[in-house]
Amino acid sequence: MDKTQYLVKQEPFYQAQGKEVALYEAAYAAKLPVMVKGPTGCGKSRFVEYMAWKLQRPLITVACNEDMTASDLVGRYLLEANGTRWLDGPLTTAARIGAICYLDEIVEARQDTTVVIHPLTDHRRVLPLDKKGELVEAHPDFQLVISYNPGYQSLMKDLKQSTKQRFTAFDFDYPAPELETLILTKETGLAEGTAAKLVKIGQVGRNLKGHGLDEGISTRLLVYAATLIKRGVDAQDACRMALVRPITDDADIRATLDHAIDTTFV
């Protein structure tokens, strides 16, 4: 197995919001499972990627979805011309090679799927492959990380208390204005002044959370808008396209956000 294929080759740009880097390092040193909480597009995945790079550990990312089964995580037998062959799933691979396994948006997976991670998260650090009759002992470098957006307005999509209780957690939110501006400039090369204006629009949108908007405008969308502007798109058009149209169809809210855009970019 070639571990290096899972290494993050280049340093990803990550702007720390607080002490999370040092805290993560401590959690990793103790091999504690980590949960990264926060709204969509606030930098959770970027953080994990950065930490994998910093710790020089392989990173195996699984984007969870509703159709995912336990076998998709653990592995399965495949048919071959002369019999069958076992193929490890990403979780098993990570446990064997000592990678960081990142289950992104874990609540998207069904609860009967998520329970397979439980034995890996307690002191046993094992993964039973029932079908294969094998008990994989996790490599000492293995770590489990999950991300989770508590803002989901579906109560069905929530983590079981018994799952939550197995993780240490980081509570992320959209970065403070100065930081978010910095992220936009470093990520896209956009001039600081323009970036600060985008961040301001983001803030305006976030003020309407709960008043017709389920979630505010994410950092990711701001990065999109910045990218468009950097490519020569008119700032007001870029904002409407990347920040307003995707998130709402409510005419009053659109008018309000449009006004904020018109009076911010002149």
């Binding site: 159709d67 495949l78 011309a81 109560l155 006004h259 009076t263």
Partner: protein, 766 residues
């Protein structure tokens, strides 16, 4: 009551259970049985919007209406409608209304009193302030005075033909016109039809072509009522200000045109804005709001006693410009709007030999502060402009700095002629600025009266709790971070029953919605068997997939082994508990006119629809209501149990739902959790429907019950119960997140509750 004619004496001697109601009944001194029948209900309704001392005035006005000699109707309508009027515009409108009724009674227009009262609540909801109501009365009075008895020179013997029609049409008209437009429309009718009684009736009944045409003509500009939500969103989104907006009318006070202002009751704005050049009405509103918000953010009151009116005026101009400079820093595009609305005084327009020019000088200065391209040559002006910008260069400066700059400028440019009576006004009025009343403090006659809430405002019905002994729950003390053990007593009782047919009627009313829900439900409804594809082990071969795998295999590729499918009965395994706030405030009315409903009625509809929907879906549902009267008496009323079906017994309980007392939410949550926690289900959801924050009369620290409720939610969470709050309080943001975390929704349009509650449930459990 039995049928048959009751004598007058009967009604007067009607006995009421509650001694206070009995006192009021005595005070109205009324012999009408129709009034007696609804009196108690009216009083309870009134108590939700009126203070104790206001109650006396209310009852007195009712008494007066009973003595007009016009039967029971005026009094009946008044008793029923007034609480709702007071709700919209405050109790201060009572006095002018009573005066106006007396005037109608004295003239031959007494017949118009009932139509007047019938639409008053709807009118009040549209006008939203007592001042506006007075303006409305002025319009009606004008019509009355000018069209009464003037036919063929007779002496005040004929009532105004148009007046009752005006009252009937008023809600409709005010939906389309600002009050000023209504006034013009009425004036036109008076001018043209005061001598034709039939035509006049037709005009005011909106039956004549020109009465419609004139109405259309008056429909211009942006009506506050139509953009209120957008303005709310604007304040919230761009300025993080959630204050109340209160409209006033500009059409009445000719001498002193009202200008925007703000006080403890909210931000006051005109009821209509016409476009001004390229600036649309909505942007004029935004400019006004931005300016006021700026003051609230950056201005500090100054002691006014030692300054002359001129000096104060100058300080105001300077401070206004500082505020706008800061606003433009936040949103540079505002400058375009401000400049388009700001007059551009011509430099030599004012002759100091004959006229007081101070205003003119200040208005030029104001323009110059904001407009780099002002082009004024006056040296003193340019000097001050430079100083102004220097002060603001590295920060927001402050009101005191502006004041000294302004005073220096006034001193330096003072002229004898500033004292002249003739003042140059042209191009000096900046109409998006507020009146700056907040900027001044007068030490001399400060009247800091202390108001305090009378805790006895609400009548306490005598408690008639029968049933189980109380259960005690702890309450969280956020100061000491400890529980107060066994602090609350929760009494559980079976909810009283009413008529289940009422609920069926409600459901019929929502037939269309029910149809729509049914479609959604069918999608969500657990199919007995659900097919799960892509299984390695399963009960049946999935032919499509198997074939694909075979092809892969033959072609030398790795086949997908998940060629089976299996079935399972749907995994929807949810238990829901709906906890309904039944506190006093639910008596509040929402909506206008005929369609006005109390929050309680809307809650009943919503609960019925939800129960109906969940029953079809098959999720076990329990419903309970709660309210409290101190910690010793938290009442928890059982409406539906998990195992009860949505049938007539349950409907009867929903039909009898009533409201009273306060909202001790934490105790109710814990009690509900006690039942829900015992259910075996994958998902246990506690839905809370409330119109306000936790409160009770024995608690003065508003933070206390909030903190306790938050704690209760956390307790439930550790028990595996998910709590979700649907709040009907538009001001809920301040606390609801603190209590419920992300699990809440604030319903801005309460009238849509019946449709929203089931929809919310469906989307939450999708």
């Amino acid at each position: 009551m039995t049928t048959g004619i009751r004598t007058v004496a009967d009604a007067r001697q009607r006995a009421f259970e509650h001694p206070q109601v009995q006192d009021y009944w005595k005070a109205v001194d009324c012999g009408f049985a129709q009034v007696a029948d609804v009196f108690e209900e009216c009083i309870y309704d009134a108590l939700t919007s009126l203070h104790k001392d206001e109650m006396a005035a209310y009852v007195e006005a009712a008494r007066l209406l009973g003595k007009l000699g016009r039967g029971a109707e005026p009094m009946l309508v008044f008793l029923q409608e007034w609480p709702s009027v007071a709700q919209s515009v405050g109790p201060g409108a009572l006095e002018p209304v009573v005066l106006f009724i007396k005037a109608m009674q004295k003239s031959p227009n007494g017949k118009a009193i009932t139509p007047f009262l019938q639409t008053l609540a709807a009118v009040a909801r549209r006008l939203q302030s007592a001042e506006q109501i007075e303006n409305y009365l002025d319009v009606a009075r004008e019509l009355m005075v000018r069209t009464t008895g003037s036919i063929h020179g007779h002496h005040s013997t004929f009532p105004s033909p148009g007046l009752p029609h005006l009252f009937e049409q008023a809600p409709f008209l005010l939906n389309l016109l600002p009050l000023g437009g209504l006034k013009n429309w009425v004036d036109y009718g008076i001018r043209n039809y005061s001598h034709h009684p039939e035509r006049q009736e037709e005009y005011f009944g909106l039956k004549l072509a020109d009465s419609k045409a004139v109405m259309q003509r008056e429909r211009r500009g942006t009506l506050f009522a139509d953009v209120e939500r957008q303005l709310d969103l604007y304040l919230r989104a761009l300025w993080q200000d959630g204050d109340q907006l209160v409209p006033y009318s500009t059409a009445f006070d000719e001498l002193r045109k009202p200008i925007p202002y703000f006080d403890s009751r909210g931000l006051r704005v005109p009821d209509v804005f016409e476009d001004a050049g390229q600036i649309g009405g909505i942007d004029r509103y935004r400019a006004v709001l931005a300016h006021m918000v700026g003051h609230r953010k950056w201005s500090t009151p100054q002691i006014a006693d030692n300054w002359s009116p001129f000096q104060r005026m100058a300080v105001e101009f300077f401070e206004d410009c500082r505020i706008e400079t800061l606003l433009c820093r936040a949103y540079p595009g505002l400058r375009r709007i401000f400049l388009a609305l700001h007059p551009k005084p011509v430099e030599e327009a004012c002759d100091p030999a004959t006229t007081s020019c101070l205003r003119h000088r200040l208005a030029m200065l104001s323009r110059a502060f904001l407009d780099a391209a002002h082009g004024y040559r006056d040296a003193e002006l340019n000097l001050v402009v430079a100083r102004f910008h220097a002060l603001l260069q590295d920060g927001p400066s402050n009101t005191a700095e502006m004041a000294s700059l302004a005073l220096a400028y006034v001193a330096k440019t003072r002229r004898q002629s500033d004292q002249l009576a003739k003042v140059h006004f042209d191009d000096t009025v900046i109409d998006y600025r507020d009146d700056n009343r907040h900027l001044w403090q007068f030490i001399e006659d400060s009247d800091d009266e202390d108001f305090f809430d009378d805790p006895d405002k609400k009548l306490a019905k005598e408690s008639e709790i029968v049933g189980l002994p109380p259960r005690h729950y702890p309450e969280w003390d956020h100061h000491t971070k400890t529980y107060r053990p066994d602090w609350t007593s929760v009494y559980e009782a079976l909810h009283p029953s009413g008529n289940p047919a009422d609920i069926d009627k409600l459901l019929e009313k929502h037939a269309a919605l029910a149809k729509q829900l049914k479609r959604l439900l069918d999608l969500l409804k657990p199919q007995d068997k659900v097919r799960i594809r892509y299984q390695e082990e399963g009960s049946e071969l999935d032919l499509d997939v198997a074939l694909r795998a075979l092809v892969d295999f033959k072609g030398g590729a790795t086949p997908d082994p998940r060629i089976n499918m299996s079935h399972r009965t749907d995994g929807r395994n949810i238990a829901v508990m709906l906890l309904v706030d039944q506190s006093e405030s639910l008596h509040q009315k929402v909506g206008a006119g005929e369609t006005a409903q109390s929050i309680l009625e809307l809650s009943q509809e919503a609960v019925s629809l939800l129960a109906w929907a969940i029953d079809r879906l098959g999720d076990p549902l329990a419903i309970a209501g709660f309210h409290s009267n101190t910690r010793h008496e938290v009442r928890y009323q059982h409406i539906k149990g998990f195992s009860e079906r949505w049938d007539d017994t349950v409907k009867a309980r929903v039909a009898a739902m009533d409201a009273g007392y306060s909202t001790r939410m934490g105790a109710a949550l814990r009690h509900a959790g006690h039942y829900l926690g015992a259910r075996k289900a994958d998902k246990r959801i506690l839905l809370v429907l409330t119109d306000g924050e936790p409160a009770d009369i024995d608690v003065t620290d508003p933070e206390h019950l909030r903190a306790d409720t938050k704690k209760a939610v956390e307790e439930l969470d550790t028990k595996g119960i998910t709590t979700f709050c649907l709040s009907l309080d538009p001001k809920a943001d301040e606390y609801v997140r603190e209590i419920f975390g992300n699990r809440f929704r604030v319903l801005d349009r309460i009238e849509r509750l019946p449709e929203q509650l089931p929809m919310l449930y469906l989307s939450l459990t999708k």
